[in-house]
């Protein structure tokens, strides 16, 4: 049985519309107009037990709404969903004992208290006995490298430190599924990397399944084996991250430098010259049209090579291309 199963899930919000200015406000007061916004449009997907699944999309794509439906925060307009066998909006409390959730913009730690005080409160919320709670806190403190931070008021922690404490708090009750909504939002590169490694480690150690939404393709690239890309409430792509790369990372950019001057009419068949200088050139080619081997041989034949760099587009560029394609 999959850990998460979603079928034809839809969520529509009623949004009040108002024209600009006082006149618009008065008219809205007298005769309000509403517009239906479909945040989620017939989503269907599954996540296996212990899987790390990336769920990405631009702002307003319906990621957070989907996560909120799966945690039982929101009722869907129609469709079905089951998380660990529970219908989230019907068995909210029973489900909450088995899942953990972290919302990057909605902290659960008490701001004026040290994180350890929230951990003890969560112990009561999740009905953990004192002995096992203490053992669990010690284990998570070591895994997340937060031993030194536990007794510092949360308001004095950096964003990265706070987020590690947040994720540790959501794992206190050993959930089988962790729903992470933009956990890396606002973090610097080092803090992001640290958080990713810890999530990965908890997945390996305890087999906790992770559904991760993020704007940062790096989160998905590092953590997830499978990815679902949503736009305007619909799934526009779903596959393994490796397949995504294979399928879309076919355009190579080559920077080449020579020890001697290049011929004035330097070119290679099937290769687009982006820039040609006296001692080097930048070019681009698609491996589906032009194989790699003749390009490399052609470069070697053109003169004495000083340096060659072959690069691929970032996953971010690939995802942007997919969004752009769905917008068209």
């Amino acid at each position: 049985m999959p850990a998460i199963s979603v079928r034809e899930l839809r969520k529509t919000f009623q949004l009040k519309r108002k024209a600009a200015g006082l006149r618009g406000s008065l008219r809205a007061l007298w005769r309000p107009t509403y517009e239906s916004i479909e945040a989620v449009r017939g989503l269907s997907f599954e996540m296996e037990d212990g899987e790390l699944l990336g769920f990405i999309g631009p702002n307003g794509a319906g990621k957070s709404t989907t996560i909120k439906i799966l945690t039982g925060i929101l009722h869907p307009s129609s469709g079905e969903a089951a998380v660990l066998g529970h219908v989230p909006w019907q068995d909210r409390q029973a489900l909450a004992f088995q899942i953990g959730s972290v919302f990057g913009q909605r902290p659960q730690l008490w701001y004026h208290l040290p994180a350890v005080d929230t951990f003890y409160l969560f112990g009561k919320i999740y009905e953990l006995d004192d002995k096992s709670l203490k053992r669990r806190i010690a284990f998570l403190a070591e895994a997340f490298e937060i031993e030194e931070l536990l007794e510092t008021p949360v308001r004095k922690l950096s964003l990265g430190q706070r987020m590690r404490c947040e994720v540790a708090a959501s794992l206190l009750h050993r959930p089988r599924v962790l729903l992470l909504d933009e956990p890396s939002i606002g973090l610097d590169v080092v803090a992001k990397q640290r958080l990713r490694l810890t999530i990965q480690r908890m997945n390996e150690l305890e087999g906790v399944g992770v559904l991760l939404t993020s704007h940062d393709a790096g989160d998905i690239e590092t953590l997830c084996r499978r990815v679902i890309i949503v736009n305007h409430g619909e799934i526009v792509y779903r596959d393994k991250v490796s397949s995504l790369k294979r399928r879309y990372l076919t355009v190579k950019t080559v920077d080449v430098r020579y020890n001697e001057q290049l011929a004035a009419d330097f070119s290679l068949p099937g290769v687009e010259m982006v820039k040609v200088g006296r001692y080097g050139a930048k070019m681009r080619f698609d491996t589906r049209v032009t194989p790699v081997e003749p390009v490399i041989s052609g470069l070697a034949a053109a003169g004495s090579l000083a340096d060659v760099t072959v690069s691929e587009p970032s996953l971010e560029d690939v995802i942007s291309a997919i969004y752009a394609r769905t917008e068209a």
Partner: protein, 265 residues
Amino acid sequence: MGRQFAFVMALWKTNLLSAMEYRVSFLTQVFGMMLNNALYFVFWIIFFARFEEINGWDLVDMLFLFGVVATGFGAGTYLFGNAVRLSPLIANGQMDYYLSLPRPVLLHALASSSNASSAGDFTYGLFSFGAAIYFSGSFGGLMLLRFTLGCLASIAVLISFLVLVQSLTFWIGNTSLLTRHAFNAIVTFSLYPITLFDGTAKLLLFTLIPAAFIGALPAEFVRSFDLLQLAQICAGGAVFLLLSVFVFYRGLRRYESGSAIQVRM
């Protein structure tokens, strides 16, 4: 039941720890509110210095009334501090936190915050009750029991009323202003002798603005035992409690969350 009690106790403990982070602010608010209440009562001392009674109520009755209302109000809004902030929590999508944890949403939301100034009301209420005992010359274990029961009924109706008013947020959007007016109305009317009102006004004080269940009725019951009054305050507390829970959970189905950046204080 025991599980929920342990959970609520843990919440209250966390609230206390949070308040103790700013001890000076906490104590200032406590003593400030006690002084505020005492100054308000001076009006009644001056009044009863000129008139012996008002429709059968004298200064000692007013001390009992202030004792029950301030103790009930103070305890209620200290232990369930979010009862006065429920509307913005709903309107700004801050119920997400309570909905994502395995506890009853309403109880969790209400008990997740405490007002320092309410501790001042509570302390003032106990002083007022003590003064009422002193001036009435009557005291016993049963009166203490009646006082406790009266305060509990007062808390139940006050918190339920605030929940009911603010549950309207689910249907009509932010009701902060309405809540402020309703709050002022119920507190003001609960601090007057019930004998001042009759007809429609009295009916309103038992229904739409149930101030009678928060002040006069429990205060009269504390002063002398009356089975009918006991039945009235218990029934009033139970009816308003059940109604508020029902309306809140009906409204919760309409909850739409939000994406504002939030902080847990």
